[in-house]
Amino acid sequence: MITSLLASAVPMSGLLAALPVAAVNWHSVLFLLFAAVACACAVAVVLADNVVRMAFYLVLSLAATAGLFFLAGAEFVGAMQLMIYVGGTLVLLVFGVMLTAQAPFVAIKTSTGDRVLAGMVGAALLAVLLQAAFRVEPWRRPAMAAVAAPAATPIGMALLGVRVDEPVAGAPPAAVRSGYLLPFEIVSVHLLVVLVGAAYLARAKRRRTPRAIDVAASSVGPVVTAREAARSSASALASGGQR
Amino acid sequence: MSPTDTLTQPALWPLTAIVFLPALVAAFLSLPIVPKAREEFIRWTTLLTTAVVFVLSLWMAVPALFGPTGPAQFRLGDPSMQAVVKLPWIESFGIEYLLGVDGISLPLVVLTTFLSMLAAAASWPISKHVKAYSVLFLLLVTGMLGVFVSLDFFLFYVFWEVMLLPMYFLIGIWGGPRREYAAIKFFLYTLLGSVLMLLAILMLYFTSDLRLLSDEQLVASHVVSPSLDGAARTTALEAVRSAGRPLHTFNILALAQIGQLPNSPFAAAQVWGMSLETWAFLLLLIGFVIKVPVVPVHTWLPDAHVEAPTPISMILAGVLLKLGGYGILRICYPICPGAGLSLAWLVCGLGVVSMVYGAFAALAQKDFKRMVAYSSVSHMGYVMLGLGVWSAVAGQEYRWDAWAQGVNGAMFQMLAHGISSAGMFFMVGVLYDRVHHRNLEEFGGIFGKMPVYSGLAIAVFFAGLGLPGLCGFIGEVLVTLSSWNYSRVLAAISAFTVILTAAYILWAIQRVYLGAEYKGPHGDHLTPITPRELAIATPLVFFAILFGVAPQILFNYVTPTVNRQVETLADWTRRVHDAPAAPAVAAVQQDMAGQTAR
């Protein structure tokens, strides 16, 4: 995808080349762009009070991160980032937001003291991380040419247990270093377990006392739709959990 | 086979049986197969056991009663140790199972068995924990007999302690209202004594050395059994001679031989400025006089007696007190003659003091039993005085017969007091069983209500009074007469005591038996004496009269041994103590050897 983008950028470069401007390193530019978006959205998530907005900012941040992945040459990972996070996790989150999006909970204020404290702590942490980040060895110009055309093949092979990216000299292809088959399986099983667990946890239980939320509902007049949705979805989830 | 051989081995059984039969029966009784409930059975078993032991001791003491004389039986007139049993026990320390009887211990053994039989009969009224009582009682008997017959110092000590514990429980469980106090007091006193005694035993043991003794002495003291003859004996002697390091011994006879040597290690060793001999004598003396008891370590006695049940009082007064005198006579003097001579004044002084003090205290008592207890203190004072009168000194030309008379008198006094005091305590017990009080002020007129009992009781009390024709007289008069040669003053005081004795006994008789009417509670319970009580009291009175009329019966046993011991010590005084030190020693030593050999 990024390659096509780069390809489409070629005529533009030709177009821009006419301008009396020093040649721009697009790679850096894009990086800066994505990075800025990611960071900004992350901070926004922090700063935002409304949960819905938070969810929105989070989506943006994650998407930007995916972009960064692309720039770093990890297309597959980037893709996965988009699909699973933006596609899956975020949907999940949004569900959650909707299920619990009641008037009192949509925006729960945090005390200013907490904010200040959190800020200071975060700053300290950030400082630490940054000064760690700048300890990596000095910069070098990457030899773009030496970089092979990016493809998802190696990862797929690796997940099937075959490493094609690092051929060992003088050894038949079968005898290469073992791949990630076993972890792959483990993860899949893990996912299954997680889903079952989630279903179990979220299943609806019979209650003697009326749910506190109904009491709250009577007091809370508006947002009927939200309440309906919440109820239906809850029952649906519950039934699904039971089934 | 030498005669001694046939003498030693068969003797194993009579003595061992006499000592351990009660313990065996006690063990049997303590088995769960003997049900607690069958009290009559238990009582009878106890009584029978003591009776059997008594018969056994009679069999040893008076062979004439049992047909032809066996080798294990006692030969009258032989002063030496007889019926000796000698088995190794703890060889690493030279501790032996060494038993034997001579004229000193045999009468005491018979007295013990006799009194324990009567005490067992007197135990019938005791209805509390009969089983435990009988077991402890029999153990006590074993302990007492063991002390009298054991010739090994360690064995002696073991029996001494064995005797202590049952007595503690017998007083502490079956006693009167203040029994715990009395029992603890008794226990602490006697324990103190036995601890000091143990100390002395160890001192002597580690100072002793068998190699100092001549062959004859080794044989005489049964270190080398006389039964060995010829080659066996020489090898045994060689074993002693060739020992590289000092051969320590617990053998009492051997210790005595060593202590009487001119170069006795006991006299030579110095501890804190005094000779070890003196220390040992003092420690042993304290241990024994606590048992006797003498003033001022006597206060356990009245309490123990007052609280103890009647039979235990009989045993306590009749036998236990004698252990002290026996120990002094058998251990203190022979083993530590030097200290004995220099400290004779102490022994005599203690004797006289407790004589007078006890008599005075008895005069002041309101409690019948307490009065009798103090009379025991007073009477045992005569024993101490008699044992102490070492009058065979230069000023008396080493004439030993006055001293021997004192010691004989003391022995007789011990035996006589064994009978009379046991009798007195029994008589008090008979009254106590009926009216349950002992307040002298509240009696009176008993003679009118219980004539037979009162007659016997008065006879027994007169025996305590030292009336001629009763057993109390001989011992007292012999001791008193002999004491004159040792110290005029002590003799006079001891003679003065007869007045007090008469006073307190007659006064007690007047308050209890004479008078017009009984003044105390439960007057209607004063029933005439029962056959059982009669069966206990009669033998006591009989022997009190018999020994008073024919004291020779006892003297035939006692005198030879006592005389020989005293004669030996008198010789020791002349040859060792008063000898012109350096040149004579060698000659003296071989004299001693020769003399002990004969």
């Binding site: 020093a22 850096s28 990086f31 990075a35 960071c39 992350a42 901070v43 998530v45 922090v46 949960v51 989070l58 941040s61 991160t65 960064l68 992945f69 720039l71 770093a72 990890a74 597959f76 990972v77 996965m80 699973i84 996070y85 996790t89 999940l92 569900f95 299920l99 619990t100 909970f105 729960i108 904010r115 959190a118 975060g122 942490l125 950030l126 991380l129 940054l130 760690a132 980040a133 700048f134 990596v136 910069w139 110009r141 990457p142 970089v147 990862i155 490493r163 990216d165 690092e166 996912l191 997680v194 667990g197 989630a198 179990y200 946890l201 749910r211 939320i213 009491v215 709250a216 809850a234 | -």
Partner: protein, 130 residues
């Protein structure tokens, strides 16, 4: 370069300048990762809404992922310098999966909590209080 750095003295903030005119390297990613991570953490620490916390977690995981990817990328590292290579990407992949799973579970927990307590305010959820 002039445009971008015109208003800036070339030596004003060397680091920032370096970030601008130097080619993109690992450090850049690391900085981004750090920011994400920090903001995630702060989010966790700040949000009283359970879902907010959940989102903070996601951010933290992303921060980590950024680092992994950065270390594994062949572009950002000079030759000869060690690189995680494919392993990094795979780990990142796993992290993403786990994050998904975790999100599911967390959401279920949240819902449960919500059903029981009728709130999603985690300050109310102090049942573990000692």
């Amino acid at each position: 370069m002039n445009l971008l750095t015109a208003g800036l003295p070339s030596t004003a903030i060397p680091l920032f300048a370096g970030l601008l005119d130097a080619p993109v390297g690992v450090a850049h990613y690391l900085v981004v990762g750090a920011i994400l991570f920090t903001s995630g953490v702060v989010c966790m620490a700040l949000k009283r809404n359970a879902l907010g916390v959940l989102m903070g977690i996601e951010l933290v995981l992303n921060g980590a992922n950024v680092n992994f990817v950065a270390f594994s990328s062949p572009y950002l590292r000079g030759e000869g310098s060690a690189s995680l290579g494919l392993d990094g990407q795979l780990i990142a992949l796993f992290v993403i999966l786990l994050a998904a799973a975790e999100a599911a579970v967390a959401l279920a927990i949240t819902l449960n909590f919500y059903n029981n307590h009728a709130t999603v305010d985690i300050d109310q959820a102090d049942d573990l209080k000692g």
